[in-house]
C-alpha cells in the first residue's frame, strides 16, 4: 500500500479547500444570475463558507488520525506480541515492541526472523494507515465542500453564517485556556493517584524522610524508597525565604524611590535597566549561582571559620532574590503609583514631610497591592526551577541552616524525571505527586494574591 506523507495530505487539503473557495465564489454569481437577483452576501463570503466547511472537519480528522492512528497500531502489535509469547511480562513486551518499531523504520538492524516479520507487518500496517488517512481526509474535504457549495443559495446570507462559524472558532480558542488548566489538573491528578495507590498519601504529606531510592530487584536489601515530602518542602521554603529576604526590602525601597522621589530622567534610565534583569533567563542566574555565588559564599564562610556547603541554600536563595527584585519592584511601583494623588496632597497640606506621607498615607493605602505583589513573588520563588537545579543540592536533609545544602520540590521533579524513565515506576510517579503539590500551592498563593490586590482597586473607585 502506498504511503502518503503527512505534508502531502496537508497541502492537498489546503488545495481542495481553496478550490471550493473559488468554485463557490464563481458559482454563486451564476446561481444569482439564474434566479435573477443579487446574492445576499458578497461572493467571497460564500467562498469562505465552503472553504471553512471543507477544511475544518477534515483537519480535525487529520490530526486525530495522525496522533491516534500510530497509538492504535502500537496497541495492536502489543497484543499480538503478547499472544505470541504469553509468558512474557509487560515491560518485556514493550521492549520487543520498541525493537520492532525501530527495526521497521530502519534505525536498528536485526537477524531475528520473528522480529523481522513483525517489523515488516508493522511497516505495512503503518503504510496502510497513512494511505487511508490521506484518502479519508481528502475525500471528506471534497464531499463536504461539494455538499456545502451545492446547497448555497443567493437568498441565504452567507456572511452571517460564516461569521457565526468564525465566532465559534474564536470561542474554542478562548476555551483552550480552560482546557489547559483542566489538562494540567487531570494529568497531575491521574499520575499522582497512581502514586498514592503505591504509597500512602499521609506518609507522603507528613513523612519526615525523603529518599527516592527504590530497589531495582525485589529481593535487594537496599532501602525501599521513602517519599515524605516535609524535608523537600522545608528546603523549598528555606530557599524562598532567603530569596524574599533579599528581594522584598530591595524591591520595595527601589519602588518607593522610583515612584516618589526619582526624577523622570532617572526613572527612564532605571526602569528599563531593571527590566533587563527581569529578562535574563533563569538558567543564566543558575550558572551565576553555581559557579560564582556559591564559591564566593564558601570563601567568605571559610574566612569566618564557618563550614559552608558548596551547594548552600544561601547562594541559591540570594541569587533567586536578585532574580525577583525587578518582579517586586515593578509590581509595587505600579501599586504605589495607583494610590490617588489627592491622598498625598492632603497629607502634605497638613504639613507632613514626604517621608511621613509615604510611611503613614501612601504605604498603608497601597498595602493590599504590595502584599499581593509579595505573594506573587513567593509563588514565583517556589516554582523557580533552574537556579535551584544548578545551585541547590539533591539530598533532602531536614534543616533550616542556610549554610547547609537543601533540596527543593522543583529540583526533585527534575532529577526524578530526566533521563529515560518507565512510566509505572514509583520514582517517576512520585514526581507527579510533588508536581501536584507544587501546582496547588502556587495556585492558592496566586488566587490569594489576586483577591487581596483587587481590594485596593475597589476602595478608591
Amino acid at each position: 500500500m502506498q504511503n502518503i506523507p503527512l505534508s502531502f495530505v496537508f497541502f492537498m487539503l489546503i488545495g481542495v479547500s481553496l478550490f471550493f473557495y473559488f468554485y463557490s465564489k464563481n458559482n454563486i454569481l451564476k446561481k444569482a444570475a439564474f434566479v435573477g437577483q443579487r446574492s445576499k452576501a458578497l461572493p467571497s463570503h460564500y467562498g469562505q463558507q465552503s472553504f471553512l466547511w471543507a477544511f475544518i472537519p477534515s483537519a480535525i480528522i487529520l490530526i486525530f488520525l495522525t496522533i491516534g492512528g500510530p497509538n492504535y497500531i502500537d496497541q495492536l502489535f502489543y497484543n499480538k506480541i503478547q499472544e505470541l509469547n504469553p509468558k512474557l511480562n509487560q515491560s518485556f513486551v514493550s521492549l520487543i515492541l520498541a525493537k520492532v518499531i525501530n527495526v521497521s523504520n530502519g534505525k536498528i538492524a536485526t537477524a531475528d526472523e520473528k522480529i523481522l516479520s513483525l517489523a515488516s507487518d508493522y511497516k505495512a500496517a503503518l503504510d496502510q494507515l497513512h494511505f487511508y488517512r490521506g484518502l479519508v481526509v481528502i475525500l471528506c474535504a471534497a464531499l463536504v465542500g461539494m455538499f456545502v457549495s451545492s446547497l448555497q443559495s443567493p437568498r441565504a446570507n452567507a456572511r452571517e453564517n460564516v461569521e457565526k462559524l468564525i465566532i465559534n472558532i474564536f470561542f474554542v480558542s478562548a476555551v483552550i485556556a480552560i482546557f489547559t488548566t483542566g489538562a494540567i489538573i487531570l494529568s497531575l491528578l491521574f499520575e499522582a493517584l497512581r502514586f498514592f495507590s503505591l504509597y500512602n498519601f499521609f506518609n507522603f504529606l507528613f513523612g519526615l524522610h525523603w529518599a527516592p531510592n527504590v530497589a531495582i530487584r525485589s529481593d535487594q536489601v537496599a532501602a525501599a524508597g521513602s517519599f515524605g515530602m516535609i524535608p523537600v518542602l522545608v528546603g523549598t521554603l528555606l530557599i524562598s525565604f532567603i530569596a524574599m529576604c533579599v528581594a522584598i526590602p530591595i524591591g520595595l525601597f527601589s519602588a518607593i524611590y522610583l515612584a516618589e522621589f526619582a526624577s523622570p530622567r532617572t526613572r527612564d534610565f532605571v526602569k528599563p535597566t531593571l527590566e533587563i534583569l527581569a529578562g535574563i533567563p533563569t538558567v543564566v542566574y543558575g550558572y551565576f549561582a553555581a559557579l560564582t555565588a556559591a564559591p564566593f559564599f564558601r570563601e567568605i564562610g571559610f574566612s569566618l571559620g564557618l563550614d559552608v556547603s558548596s551547594e548552600s541554600a544561601l547562594a541559591a536563595g540570594a541569587v533567586m532574590g536578585i532574580m525577583i527584585i525587578p518582579f517586586i519592584s515593578s509590581l509595587s511601583d505600579d501599586v504605589i503609583r495607583a494610590v490617588p494623588q489627592s491622598l498625598r496632597d492632603g497629607s502634605m497640606g497638613l504639613g507632613a514631610t514626604k517621608a511621613e506621607t509615604i510611611y503613614n498615607v501612601v504605604l498603608p493605602a497601597a498595602i493590599p497591592g504590595l502584599v499581593g505583589a509579595v505573594l506573587l513573588a513567593v509563588s514565583r520563588a517556589i516554582g523557580e526551577t533552574m537556579i535551584v537545579v544548578m545551585a541547590a543540592g539533591l539530598s533532602a536533609s531536614l534543616t533550616v541552616n542556610p549554610l547547609d545544602s537543601v533540596t527543593t520540590v522543583t529540583v526533585q521533579i527534575v532529577s526524578l524525571l530526566t533521563g529515560d524513565t518507565e512510566f509505572d515506576d514509583i520514582k517517576t510517579l512520585s514526581a507527579f505527586g510533588l508536581g501536584l503539590a507544587l501546582f496547588f500551592f502556587t495556585l492558592l498563593l496566586n488566587i490569594f494574591a489576586l483577591s487581596i490586590s483587587r481590594r485596593l482597586a475597589e476602595r478608591y473607585d
Partner: protein, 421 residues
C-alpha cells in the same frame, strides 16, 4: 524644640531616600556583576588553540573506480594515525609507549575525524596530495595556553603535566600552535570534546521550537482576545475563561513541562526531545502572556473607530477584523515578541520533555531530536571540563544579547507605532 523635631523629620526623609538609592544601586551592581563575570569567563572561548600539520594523503586509496570519494573507505582509513605520525615528527625524541600516549593527549581526540571532514570538503583529485591543515589542540592544552589552568598546583593534581606543557610550549615557539578564532563554536553541534563543541545545533533547535511556538500561540491568542473583547457575553463562562488565563500566567513553568510529558508524550505518543513538542509546551506557556498583551492592545484602540465602522454598516466581525485588528497589530506584535523572548529563555519545561539529550547532529525537522540554547548552557555548565565553562559563558552572552535585542525591538516597535488617539 520644633527645629529639632524638624531636623529629625528631615533626617527620616533623607534616610528613606538613601535606602531607595542603595537598593537601586545594589540591583544595578548585581546586574553588572552578573554580566561582567560571565563576560570575563566567556570571552576567551572566542579563541581556540590550533596546531598546524603537513599531511600527505593518497587519494587513490579513498576513491571508487569511478573516481568519486568512497564513504566506507573514508571511514575505515586511519586518519588518527596520520595525524599522530605527523605530530610525532615534531618530537622525534618521544619513543616510549606511555610517553607517546601523553603526547597524543595534547591534541584533540577528534583530530582524525576533523581531518577526514577537511579532506572530504576539499574534494581532492586522484594522486598524492600534501595538505597543510590546522587542527584542534586538546581542551587542556587550550586552557593552558589561555592561562586558565593554573600551573602552580602540584603536577599530579593538574590535568596537564610538565612534559605536556613543555611540548605545547615548544609547538608555540616553533609557531606550529597558536590561538585562532574559534570557528567550530559557531558551526557545529554538541560534542563530548569541548574543542569540537559548538552552539549551532542548539540554535537551530531553539529556532525550530520557537517557530512552532509562534505558529501555535499567536493565532490562538489573537482569536481568543478578539472573542473576549468583542463577542463574549458577560457571564459565568467568560469569567471562568478570564480567571483561567490569569492563573495560567502564574503557573510555574515546570508544571507545563509535566503537562507536556504526560499528555503530549505518554498519551498522544509524540516523539521525545522533538522541537514540535517543545514548541507546543512553550506555546501553551506563553499563550496567557500574548492573550493579555493582545487584549490590552485591542482595548487601547478607541471605540470610535469600531463605532464608525459599525455605523457604516459593517458587521461586528468586519469591524473587528478589518478595522480594529490592523490598528492593534503592532501592540500584539510587541506582546508576541516579549512572549517569545520568555519562551526562548525557558529551560525547565524542556528538561521534562527530554530536550536535554546529548545530540551531535544539527536538527533538520520538527520531529528530530534536538536541544535548545538554554538547555545547552545548562548541560555545558554541568560538565566537568573547564573548557565547557567558558563555552557555556559565551553561549550565555549570545543568548542574553539576543534576548535584550528582542526586548529592545519590542520597545522600539511600541514607540514607533504608538499613537495618541
Amino acid at each position: 524644640m520644633i527645629r529639632k523635631s524638624i531636623q529629625s523629620r528631615r533626617a527620616r526623609e533623607t534616610r528613606l531616600k538613601i535606602y531607595g538609592i542603595t537598593s537601586i544601586c545594589f540591583a544595578l551592581i548585581m546586574l553588572a556583576t552578573l554580566l561582567i563575570s560571565i563576560g570575563l569567563n566567556g570571552y576567551s572561548a572566542l579563541q581556540q588553540a590550533y596546531f598546524k600539520v603537513d599531511i600527505s594523503v593518497n587519494m587513490d586509496k579513498l576513491v571508487d573506480d569511478s573516481g568519486t570519494i568512497n564513504k566506507n573507505k573514508m571511514n575505515l582509513f586511519n586518519w588518527d594515525g596520520l595525524v599522530k605520525s605527523a605530530l610525532r615528527e615534531f618530537f622525534p625524541e618521544v619513543k616510549e609507549r606511555n610517553e607517546k600516549k601523553e603526547l597524543f593527549a595534547i591534541i584533540s581526540a577528534n583530530a582524525g575525524y576533523d581531518l577526514k571532514e577537511i579532506v572530504k570538503k576539499k574534494a581532492l583529485g586522484s594522486g598524492s596530495h600534501t595538505l597543510s591543515v590546522w587542527l584542534h589542540l586538546s581542551d587542556d592544552a587550550d586552557q593552558y595556553l589561555k592561562g586558565r589552568l593554573s600551573i602552580d598546583i602540584p603536577e599530579e593534581d593538574r590535568r596537564i603535566n610538565n612534559k605536556q606543557i613543555a611540548w605545547v610550549n615548544s609547538l608555540v615557539e616553533r609557531d606550529i600552535a597558536k590561538l585562532k578564532f574559534n570557528k567550530t563554536f559557531f558551526t557545529s553541534a554538541d560534542s563530548r570534546e569541548p574543542e569540537s563543541a559548538g552552539i549551532l545545533g542548539s540554535v537551530v533547535g531553539s529556532a525550530l521550537t520557537l517557530f512552532v511556538t509562534v505558529m501555535f500561540a499567536l493565532p490562538l491568542a489573537v482569536m481568543a482576545s478578539i472573542y473576549l473583547e468583542y463577542f463574549a457575553k458577560p457571564g459565568r463562562i467568560t469569567d471562568f475563561i478570564e480567571v483561567n488565563i490569569n492563573n495560567l500566567a502564574a503557573v510555574p513553568s515546570i508544571v507545563f513541562g509535566l503537562l507536556g510529558l504526560s499528555v503530549f508524550l505518554s498519551t498522544f505518543g509524540l516523539p521525545r526531545s522533538a522541537p514540535l513538542v517543545g514548541g507546543l509546551v512553550l506555546g501553551l506557556m506563553t499563550l496567557p502572556t500574548i492573550i493579555i498583551a493582545s487584549r490590552a492592545s485591542i482595548r487601547s484602540i478607541p471605540p470610535s473607530i469600531r463605532e464608525a465602522a459599525l455605523g457604516l454598516g459593517a458587521s461586528k466581525m468586519q469591524a473587528a477584523m478589518h478595522h480594529v485588528l490592523p490598528l492593534a497589530a503592532p501592540g500584539i506584535l510587541t506582546g508576541t515578541i516579549i512572549g517569545m523572548a520568555q519562551a526562548l529563555g525557558e529551560t525547565a519545561p524542556l528538561l521534562m520533555i527530554g530536550m536535554v539529550a546529548f545530540i551531535i547532529d544539527i536538527p533538520t525537522t520538527f520531529t528530530s531530536s534536538a536541544t535548545a540554547m538554554p538547555v545547552q548552557i545548562y548541560m555545558w555548565s554541568d560538565s566537568a571540563e573547564r573548557a565547557f565553562y567558558e563555552r557555556s559563558s559565551l553561549a550565555i552572552l549570545f543568548l542574553v544579547a539576543f534576548l535584550i535585542s528582542m526586548n529592545l525591538l519590542a520597545v522600539v516597535l511600541r514607540k514607533k507605532f504608538e499613537k495618541k488617539w
